[in-house]
């Protein structure tokens, strides 16, 4: 991506904390879901964000979609502050695709009505225009006109995810936030959906923020990958560089946990131990140190500095 490519998504020093009620006698706790993150995605780029459950990746998605206000910092999409944008204009610019196509589609509405909803909500399209745009978009994502007359329950998981993609794209947005779009699907269907998303990005010139817990899934679609741990990007690199030379021990653990079809290798010991990350109780020093297989005593005390790399950087005391 050249220096002159305009920026599609810009996130500056964004922080998001939630207050969790402590119950009858307990104290309220503060959960830091996103902790001072800054990045930019150029137009036509795809940033893959990878991390485990609870690392804050879905909160980040909702902040960028303008569904949540940040506690600090600023988010702009195509140069406009996402929070103060008019809702209809925002819907024409940025759209989500969520994980669970079973939960995100109205079970009582026909497919073509589900896909038409964003157009109807705009209030400026004629019936004929809506019908035409819906038919075009259904065909574009590989669904037949006949499938448009069915209910979500009559479709398979992969077909439902196609419906969710059609609904997201029917207003022709410039940016799509995909939050685990294939996690609920079989591997065979996952490949179909990843191919469709890659093809649509290319043909329609879209920018994606693509979230997954599986590094292997983002490799094909992402131009850059950010690895998120307890609210921070601990490593970010262009995709080829990250897969060729992962630096952060957490990135290496995520890569090691991908089960490639190679018999005889057995199930790897990922080396992360059993301590699960708790966003309400972020460890001092390096936040990854309690699970890190190579941690040293200083990792529990010193905050790791950001070490720049071409197109990204890494936050670890132990890398050069």
């Amino acid at each position: 991506m050249s220096e002159t490519t305009p920026i599609a998504i810009e996130v500056k020093g964004v922080r998001k904390t939630f207050r969790v009620k402590g119950g009858l006698l307990g104290h309220d706790r503060h959960v830091v879901a996103v902790d001072d993150i800054s990045f930019a995605v150029p137009q036509g780029g795809v940033l893959g964000v990878v991390g485990e459950s609870g690392c804050g990746k879905s909160t980040l998605a909702r902040l960028i979609l303008g569904l949540l206000p940040p506690s600090a910092g600023e988010i702009t999409v195509e140069g406009q502050r996402v929070l103060t944008m008019d809702r209809k204009a925002r819907a024409r610019l940025i759209q989500p695709v969520f994980q669970d196509p079973f939960a995100s589609l109205n079970p009582l509405a026909r497919i073509r009505d589900i896909v038409a909803m964003p157009l109807i909500a705009q209030g400026s399209f004629s019936r004929a225009e809506i019908a035409r745009k819906v038919a075009e978009m259904l065909e574009r994502v590989g669904l037949s006109a006949e499938q448009g007359t069915r209910l979500p329950t009559e479709l398979s998981g992969g077909q439902r995810q196609r419906v969710a993609i059609a609904r997201a794209l029917v207003l022709r947005p410039r940016i799509v936030v995909c939050d685990e779009p294939t996690s609920a699907l079989d591997v065979s269907v996952q490949a179909q959906i990843l191919n469709l998303l890659a093809e649509l990005r290319h043909d329609l010139g879209l920018t994606y923020l693509f979230i997954s817990h599986n590094l292997a899934v983002v490799e094909h679609v992402a131009s850059d990958v950010a690895v998120m741990y307890l609210g921070r990007f601990v490593e970010r690199q262009p995709t080829e560089a990250l897969f060729a030379h992962p630096e952060h021990p957490y990135t290496k653990a995520l890569l090691a946990s991908v089960l490639t079809p190679e018999p005889g290798l057995g199930v790897p010991d990922v080396g992360l131990g059993d301590t699960l990350p708790d966003p309400a109780n972020i460890p001092p020093g390096c936040r990854f140190h309690p699970r890190c297989p190579i941690a040293e005593p200083r990792c529990a005390v010193e905050t790791p500095p950001f070490k720049a790399r071409p197109g990204g950087g890494v936050e670890c005391l132990l890398v050069l």
């Binding site: 065979s188 490949a191 179909q192 590094l215 897969f243 790897p268």
Partner: protein, 320 residues
């Protein structure tokens, strides 16, 4: 000595007006101390096969087989009470979504001890001790604390560990695991599969593992049966299957597994177009023919069984 679990010519049908054949003549065995993987896409009949072994099929399902035996004893003619004595005792099962299979209203401890008190008639104290031992065995720290907790207080990975510990309470010889890691993060998936492999080896269990992911199969299975539209279309020892997959469906499934570092960014990922068809009892020919790149007219009639080695069989017109 007869195999631990023998299934021969298993047929399962649902529905009266428009009958669906969910399992069509499936045959395989699970030996003591081996991990047999049943692999295929959603809707291929793998879960129904597992449920029909446990006699847990939904009301209205019709189960037939030439043979269905556990340790040489017939299961088909077994009474409901006879089956209840086996289930949870000598044969146990764990499911994909631990949250829906654990009772939210009871503590982990009371659910774990119930199964032992029911089958083995031991007192509460001894049962609690065994539950604590097993929780430690599946890698849960502070088992005493966990026994007093409710399922919603546990993470997804912990819940699945609890499910595994619970299944082991009565020392089963056969463990059926239906997509035990599909709802989990990849890091936790690797940990749970590693745990299952260790337990299987140390306890000499017969493990029947159901999955849609050939990456998992490669790392954990002794033998593999690939299911498609209710039929076992290919069956082989793991090393043989991955060294030379014969059925076009198996080859397709293998291409779908993402392997980091091996993806050409400009090429689409391997995928299998379409979905598993729903077929009736009178269906003839190869059920994969509509999605297969090698199909010809003969595929609509007969499908010969070929052998590609002493224990490698597949159903396809193409020769080995």
């Amino acid at each position: 000595m007869s195999a631990l679990l023998e299934i021969e010519g298993l047929e399962v049908e649902f529905g009266r007006k428009l009958p669906t054949a969910a399992v069509r003549g499936a045959s395989f065995t699970v030996e003591r101390g081996e991990t047999h993987c049943l692999v295929g896409e959603s809707g291929c009949g793998k879960s129904v096969t597992a449920l029909s072994v446990m006699n847990l099929l939904a009301r209205g399902a019709r189960r037939r087989a030439t043979k269905l035996a556990f340790k040489g004893n017939d299961l088909l003619g077994l009474s409901d009470s006879g089956m209840s004595r086996l289930r949870g005792n000598e044969m146990a099962m764990i499911f994909q979504e631990p949250m829906t299979s654990l009772n939210p209203a009871y503590t982990v401890g009371s659910q774990m001890t119930e199964v032992l008190r029911r089958h083995k008639h031991v007192n509460q104290r001894a049962a609690t001790d065994r539950a604590a031992d097993l929780l430690a065995r599946v890698g849960i720290t502070a088992p005493g604390l966990r026994l007093g907790q409710f399922p919603h207080q546990l993470s997804g990975g912990l819940r699945q560990r609890v499910m595994i510990a619970m299944a082991l309470m009565c020392d089963p010889q056969l463990l059926i695991a239906d997509e035990p890691t599909t709802a989990l993060d990849v890091t936790v998936q690797a940990q749970i599969l590693r745990l299952l492999a260790t337990l299987q080896r140390d306890l000499g269990l017969g493990l029947l593992l159901i999955t849609h992911d050939l990456g998992i199969v490669a790392r954990i299975a002794t033998r593999v049966s690939v299911m498609y539209a209710g039929e076992v279309v290919e069956s082989a020892a793991t090393a043989d299957l991955f060294a030379g997959p014969k059925h076009p469906y198996t080859q397709g499934l293998l291409r779908c597994v993402p392997a980091p570092g091996k993806i050409r960014r400009d090429q689409p990922l391997g995928s299998i177009p379409g979905t598993v068809p729903r077929i009736g009892p009178a269906f003839a020919g190869c059920a994969f023919r509509d999605r297969c790149g090698f199909a010809d007219e003969s595929c609509a009639h007969t499908v010969p069984l070929h052998t590609a080695g002493p224990t490698h069989e597949f159903l396809c017109r193409l020769p080995a």
